[in-house]
Amino acid sequence: LNSSTDEKANKETTSAVQTADIKQIKDQVIKASNTGNIPAKALERKDTFIAGMSAPGGVFLPYFYDNGWDGNATSPIFSPLVDLDKNGKPIPILAKSWEISDDQLVYTFHLKDDLKFSNGSPLTADDVAFTLTLLHDPAYDGWGDLAAATIKGGKDYKDGKAKTIEGIKVVDPLTIKITTEKVNAKALLLLGGIVLSKDYYGKDYTYGHLDYLKKLYSKPVGSGPYKLEKYIPGQEIRYVANKNYYDGPPKVKSFIYKVTTPETTSQLFEAGETDYDRFPAEPESLEQLKELGFANIKVTTANSYSYAYINNTKPYLKDKAVRQALIYGLDRQKITDVTYKGYGTVANVPVSPVSWAYTEDGINKYKYDVKKAKQLLDEAGWKVGKDGIRAKGETKLKISYLTSRNDDDFIPIAKENYKALGIQFNPEVLDFNTLLTKLNKKDYDLAAVSTPMLSDPDDAVADLASTHPDNSAGYSNPKVDKLLEESVSTTDINERKKIYHELYKELSDDPPVILLNYRKVIHANNARISGLNPDNFTGISSSLPNLSIKE
């Protein structure tokens, strides 16, 4: 199978042996086996739940923070109108219900009764309107980009041509109606986001000036299950139960997000310093957690995948056959096995298996096949030269690969694999920002990236549209363009499912990127905590109101 650059042919492994060796781990839940092992340190805490997290930045205002971890830090404090369930389907939170007009342009949200912010002031449709308006202020510089939702009159407001946003109508204190200009599948989540208190955050608001909010970054007022008690930079964030939470105050009185580092997460958990944390998915981690006995473990597939961009604008990569050859000729299973040791699977569809849009039906799996790859290259006119490198006319087939991690397992394996194909593979390690810059400038051949958490399947594929301004792959396929357009032009999930199926098939045939793998995540919590059910879309925040501590 493997072309014989390896002198030790007898040492060569076949795929069969590989799969036998690496045990593929399934998503699973493992209950604590011995709760008697719970460390005394943890038992001492009668009314506090401690979860580990990475590095928060200390901005406690949704839409305004810049550090992703601040999202986690604010989620106990603020609640949105609509959230996602564990399969990524929208569910109501502050909203009692919502309606979407038949033309799918008008959204009407009905709020729950008697909603209050943690400071006691009522939460009404006015607050929703205020929040949406605020995000259209020209001075707003956060990440919350409502442009995709295309609220009617939003642009005019931003440009100063209108005093209010035409598309936002407060019908009554419990009802708000929002008109958009274009159908967009993601509009629901954008519009139904976190609600900020107009009384609190809008007191000093004047058009074009948002600086006053900075003073409030550290003093959040929201409607989530918890309120901020104290933030100790770099150390921990302490919360106390919000008495005014619509579902009644959570049972566990205080909650702490403790800053942990990858080096010490397992040790902190073992010592009972934290009640919950996430762990790298690898056999040793799981083994270790199991040995502790007091851990409830949940192995899930992450809601993301990793892949390598192919620069479709390069003349030698424009050719579909070459791209296909690059995938056939790459032992993705090996990469996945080395990296995740059974805690990952090869990705063939640009969406995580946990998403509703996932399907492998009719998809080419591009099983590692050197012969096929060589054949494709031969057919495409790339002939092996004297130096063992393929060339077409004057140009040699040299492919650069950008990555930001110097322990990227892609490199050693791809180097080997591609050498066997007659492709010269030049890996380059760069800092992430530089990599992004090069990506934007399309100054690369291959580049390793991984998607962020995907709340909508569109998040992963949107930039493959030839019209997309951020099309880093430089991919252009009219059929894909059309399907992408369609996929967001309806809010009906079943319909979208079909479109995505179609899209994935096309993307498989004419691959814009090299899909690599899905990985798993291990969540573990101390068995004394019950009610915790971390999921792939909201983490632990959706379980927070339902927690309780076992005596």
């Binding site: 805490r45 506090t48 401690i50 590095a55 930045g57 200390g58 901005v59 305004f64 923070y65 810049d66 550090n67 001075a139 510089d141 990440w143 980009d145 442009a147 900075k214 970054y217 100790i232 930079p233 770099g234 150390q235 921990e236 302490r238 205080s254 702490i256 403790k258 800053v259 942990t260 580092t261 080096e263 010490t264 040790q267 902190l268 073992e270 010592a271 310093e273 934290t274 800092d431 992430f432 920002n433 530089t434 992004l436 810059t437 090069k438 990506l439 934007n440 962020p452 301004p469 951020d470």
Partner: protein
Amino acid sequence: MKQYIFYRFLQMIPILIGTSFLIFVLFALLPGDYIDSNPKLTPERAQELRELYGLDKPILERYVRWFTDLVKGDFGFSLKYQEPVTSLLNKFIWNSFLIAAVSLFFTWTIALFTGVISAIKQYSWFDGFVTLGVFAAMSFPSFFIGLLLIKFFAVDLGILPIGGMIDTGSNTTKLAYLLEVSKHMVLPVAILTLLSVGSLTRYFRTGMLEVVRQDYIRTARAKGLKDRSIIFKHALKNALLPAITLLAFELPGLFSGAIITEQIFNWPGVGRIQLEALSFRDYPVLMSFTMLLSFLTIIGNFLADITYAAVDPRIRLK
């Protein structure tokens, strides 16, 4: 002397300005900017934000703006942390300073003693042991040693905390707080000390080896002075001359934050801020922080020059 100090002081101003410009250009040359670090932004939005932050202006204009703000006492606003740079640094820099200062103290004291003893007992078992230890500590990266210490002292023995600066959820104040913080400092300080004590020991050792054979040490012996005072007074003062230069190098180090150590022990220091500011191209933070360090570097060198001349009377300042 006074004149010299004054002259050197005046010199520092253009040097600082020059440095600041150089550093500004350097950062501007970095591929990518803050906006680039967020791949989710649409190009229009990115352009909007660039205008908002003034990132689309030519370097010189940006520099002048930054500089005039600086002169006015405005150090800028962190893009990443969304707070004034001064308050951001203020939050973290003192934590870094704390462990750096304490470990500096230990480093110098320990290095002084071990260096001196291994010099006067050159090639003794003690010297050999120290030498081996110094290089062993140098050959393994700090995260190894850090993890080892945590495993042993914190997890297995449970006598020291695993990381952080205070116990989770602790509300101690005053003395109890002080005690708590010191307990958390033990391991990071130990690592920092271990990391730098080795090289310093070597410096002291060589310095001493040179000096103990000088004739004036013989004179000191002839006076019947105690060994301690011969070594620690007569020999050391001469041997320490290079150390002054080294000490000056430590000045910026006190504030720069120890990235790896802080990471392992989850110490809320400025190291991570610095790294993040760099990878996100958070220029206001980067500029202010780097300029602070530059300033300290230059001051440090300046102090070293003066101290040097004060300690070694043979050197004439010109």
